[in-house]
Symmetry: C2
Subunit: 646 residues, 2 copies
């Protein structure tokens, strides 16, 4: 392959040297020390390197293909699916290119923006498809530049379907995928990993199977890094294809495209598009059950599992690529049956890591956005560098404004009617708000029988970890300490702990207890008196919507509240309470009262005025108990406050 | 004062703002985040700021004056005194300028180099005196540039004594200290903190006391930051002087110079030089006991203590400056009696922090140089920036060569004869070397009755912390595991722990167990077999003098082995095992066998050949037990190794 020797990241160079003199040279290369830390090869390698490393380690993997949705609502759903299916540990996902759907635009449904979301907000290694036929060089370069700008690192280079019957080759135009591969390598050097399509039965328009193999070889020799194949129905089809590829000198990874049959109609449509023929033995099974969706899906799963097993057992296949058709059930089922779906994926950090190359060193974030990571990523996307190892004295962390609360990936997944049912069609006072918070914590239905599964500050039900604090949280929310973020103290649990663990195994994770809530000025006054007793132990920041700010934090320094100690690594401290960022967060936290809650109600309505009153008068408070080895004292602080008030 | 408003470091700006809107502005200042961490105001403030902060906090302090020694041996002793007296917590020390002693040269006894050593190697805030009379502008600028280059930040600007009788004012020359102050401010802007001398009785050459006060005011208004006074014998002398200064508008700190009388002759000499008169009541006491040094010193201590108490009690004095005459006992005694000597100084980090401004952010070092911090500082002095928060992936830490083993501040404090008594006049085999190591550990006399109080790798007796491991260390050294560095595991002891504590109070400190030793290839072979059992728990690096290197460290990443968790701070990890730096350290560690030990013996002598054999054939090994909450397994590793060998 052309670029076999051009790999750049040398961070994970060989760690053992059992012989030979390697002492002198290291110390004389450079005038000063270099300080790019490496702590997770997975985050620093490019896709082709990850693939090779998995293959070398005999580690089987899978990838998932999605197409861009038609509507904004479908996009919100697809992104949730990315989060859920991403948890299973795909090596990458890919997003197809729909020329008819304005694929390079900024629309929330475009291929470009969906791939951007997968990379930046869901932290998934992503391949963006791109077709070239009927497009100008400038258009294509523009798309590639945009992809690069957004942090996309992998392109699937395709010809695409010619529009209309009378398509003719253009001189110097983009007539074939190979032209696009060459163009990418010419214009972007080695920046992108390039994938191309292989056709186990030969491309339907190719003169012959052999001619098609030669075209494939051209694409690879023009600079493609690996091949994903069109779907096929029999394992031997793929294995023969692979051998034929190798025979003519194609040595890059070839990944079989797996299509679990999920329904009669989708199969027929796909077959029509791909001009493949369904083998008779499959037709024989499917025709009699064609009206029974469940039966067809079960059969599809069976068939896919047995084919995948045969491929993996051949020893020639290390990864499987799934055509999901944007559905979850069948693919997940196949992956689970194959044992390559990661039930309990190891989190490298306690929050989801973004896959943008600029953010690859990022390993510290303020705790405030713990439940709104997409908002954090959005608001910091313009940063030139990201905190790494240490948050530092962020005297000027320039958080972007979060003006458009309906930015689609920050939009509530629930429609207005549902939110009203959860948060109250009509509020009668601050107490009705306390009730909503309490129901969210307890998981009990509210007075109208609806469960409160999300809040303006938490789009998902309570985290498992927060469940550890459930009883205490319920008690305080009932009394008007409206909690939006919290974590228990942890004094050295194994990094593999199913609830609080993260990072490589063999380590220990720690936390300081944290509690963040809105509350009335009356409670704040009492709280401040109580906090005097805890001055040396508890750090606090208390701020209202106008920015009145009370704190005992020394010198505006950040306080590390989550950290991990690992074998052979430096300390990692992924979460901090940063006093300066807190002021950016408070704008967002207060605004959510209005944007997500108050605006559900008519202007001037009592319900809206109640939320507005809270927004205008309550304080946002955060508390850290620094003495992590002792029992969390924050509950006592709150208890003392209530006592003082009585 | 002129430069009252020019303070630069804004890191420790006010942390509380109990009112007023401060939210919006923070987030819009800059395009990206800033990440200069602040974790120890003491390390980041300039001297005048430290002084002001101490005064504001009502915190009394002291400083110590030394003069440059005459010989290299005296310099080695003075540096040890810096280390010992530095432990008492002076706010600064100052080094006088001896025009006759080539004060700006690179000689190991020059004022410049002594001050450099105090700052860079002993981590002491230091003022370098500088006189100006009879010097050219270029000379002076050269001295100042050199001082700046070496990391000196404070100058005591003096006129100096005119050479010869017929000194005359030069037009445009440096005739008075004020000329030097102006020159420093002109040429170096606000870089230096400038101190000037005050004369409580008036300068002997001044026309009058009042005229001298006006000269002092000129020096302050020309840019001096504070005043240190000439010695005086009665507290009222100083207090009157201070009031007179304030009356004419001198508002900067004025620090009384305290001279504890230490002997009859030194007093007489000083009085002669300073042209002061000893009050009759003092003469009356001293004359009768003038031949009893101890009695005079006791009286001197009494007198100094009572005078200092009166000064401090006046409320006008916050710091005391001691003319030590390069002696320890009297000054230390006075300071202890006053209660301002810090018996157990809080270490900001587990190693002594260098006071060079370039190193002010430094807070991570490789553990290898733990017993040779001066060597580490020397070898990294050319670095442009220092690790901070994280060591990083130091693929090319360019350590300077340590060619001159007789570099004076790295020289053994003991002369050759003493070393021979400790390490053996004649070695009979490797076992005699084992014995030396064992005696160093146990503190027992060797077979010739001499205690081994230092080793080539450890210039001081065993650290208190290492004492925790004494029994184990003794056992393994007897058998040829020749330990040169070790630390026990610590699972969260209070940061105020007298043995292992460091950093601000209220925190917790942690360590991974560490063991570093030389040993034979036979033992290494067995050790490697044993280490297989501990693969997931113990990281090791094993290297011989030729650089053959065996390790299981992943990706050449550093391993944090000391860290601390503090209230309201980020995590600090001051010590790491860095695989790359280890290779630079091993050159030094192996060379010390030859340079410090082998060369004590005649060439070709059996003793020398034994050390040479060890140098050529032994391995340097380091082991880290990553599982810090469990009992240290490294002793078991060594035990298993010996068992395997038997």
């Amino acid at each position: 392959m052309v670029n076999e020797t051009q790999h750049t990241c040398s961070a994970s160079s060989s760690s053992r040297s059992d012989g030979g003199s390697s002492s002198g040279s290291e110390s004389s290369k450079d005038n000063s020390r270099c300080s790019t830390p490496v702590h997770d090869a997975d985050r620093h390698e490019r896709l082709r390197e990850k693939m090779r490393r998995r293959q070398d380690a005999g580690d089987k993997w899978f990838s998932l293909e999605f197409f861009p949705p038609r509507t904004a609502n479908a996009a919100v759903n697809l992104i949730s699916r990315f989060d859920r299916m991403g948890a299973g540990g795909p090596l990458f996902i890919d997003v197809t290119w729909h020329p008819a759907g304005d694929p390079g635009s900024d629309k929330e449904t475009s291929s470009m923006i969906i791939a951007n979301t997968a990379v930046n907000y869901c932290g998934l290694e992503t391949i963006l498809h791109m077709t070239c036929c009927n497009q100008t060089k400038d258009d294509i370069t523009g798309h590639l530049q945009k992809a690069k700008r957004l942090g996309l690192k992998n392109i699937m280079a395709l010809r695409g379907d010619p529009a209309g019957e009378e398509w003719e080759e253009e001189v110097d135009g983009f007539n074939y995928a190979v032209d696009l591969v060459k163009h990418i390598r010419n214009e972007f050097d080695d920046y992108f990993d390039i994938c191309v399509a292989g056709y186990p039965k030969g491309h339907p328009e190719a003169e012959s199977y052999e001619a098609d193999l030669r075209h494939l070889k051209e694409k690879v020799f023009a600079g493609a890094d690996f091949i994903i194949t069109q779907l096929f129905f029999r394992p031997e089809t793929f294995l023969k294809f692979m051998k034929d590829c190798q025979a003519i000198g194609i040595t890059c990874p070839i990944i079989p495209g797996i299509f679990p049959i999920q329904g009669y109609h989708s199969l027929r449509q796909l077959v029509k598009l791909s001009k493949l023929e369904v083998p008779q033995e499959i037709k024989d099974v499917i025709e009699p059950i064609k009206d029974n969706d469940a039966a067809i899906r079960n059969y599809g799963v069976e068939l896919a599992v047995s084919m995948c097993r045969e491929l993996l057992d051949s020893g020639m296949v290390h990864g499987l690529h799934f055509y999901t058709l944007n559905r979850e059930v069948a693919t997940t089922e196949v992956l689970k049956r194959l044992g390559i779906w990661k039930e309990d994926p190891r989190r490298p950090l306690p929050w989801a890591v973004s896959a943008h190359p600029k953010r690859r060193v990022e390993d510290v974030r303020p705790i405030f956005w713990a439940s709104r990571p997409k908002s954090y990523i959005y608001r910091t996307q313009e940063w030139d560098d990201f905190p790494n190892g240490r948050w530092g004295n962020s005297s000027s962390p320039a958080f972007g404004e979060l003006k458009d609360y309906y930015l689609f990936y920050l939009k509530s997944k629930s429609p207005r009617e549902e939110l009203l049912k959860m948060w109250g069609e009509e509020l009668t006072g601050e107490e009705s708000v306390f009730e909503v918070f309490t129901c969210y914590i307890t998981g009990e239905p509210n007075r109208n029988g609806y469960k409160v599964t999300c809040m303006p500050w938490n789009d998902d039900p309570l985290a498992t970890e927060t469940n550890l604090l459930k009883d205490q949280l319920e008690k305080v929310n009932r009394r008007g300490i409206l909690t939006i973020n919290s974590q228990p103290n942890i004094n050295g649990k194994p990094s593999t702990d199913p609830i609080v663990g993260w990072g490589p195994s063999g380590g220990y994770v720690f936390q300081k207890a944290y509690l963040e809530f809105f509350t009335s000025s009356e409670i704040v006054t009492a709280l401040l008196k109580v906090l005097k007793k805890y001055e040396l132990r508890v750090n606090y920041h208390i701020v209202n919507v106008k920015g009145q700010n009370i704190t005992n934090a020394p010198d505006l320094q950040p306080n590390a509240v989550t950290w991990g100690i690992f074998p052979g690594r430096e300390i990692i401290q992924p979460t901090v309470v940063d006093p300066v960022s807190f002021l950016s967060w408070k704008d967002e936290a207060f605004a959510l009262w209005i944007e997500q809650w108050a605006k559900l109600y008519e202007e001037e309505s009592p319900s809206r005025m109640i939320i507005q009153y809270i927004h205008d008068n309550y304080y946002l408070v955060n508390l850290v108990d620094n003495d992590f080895p002792l029992e969390n004292c924050l509950w006592q602080v709150v208890e003392d406050t209530f006592e003082l008030l009585n």
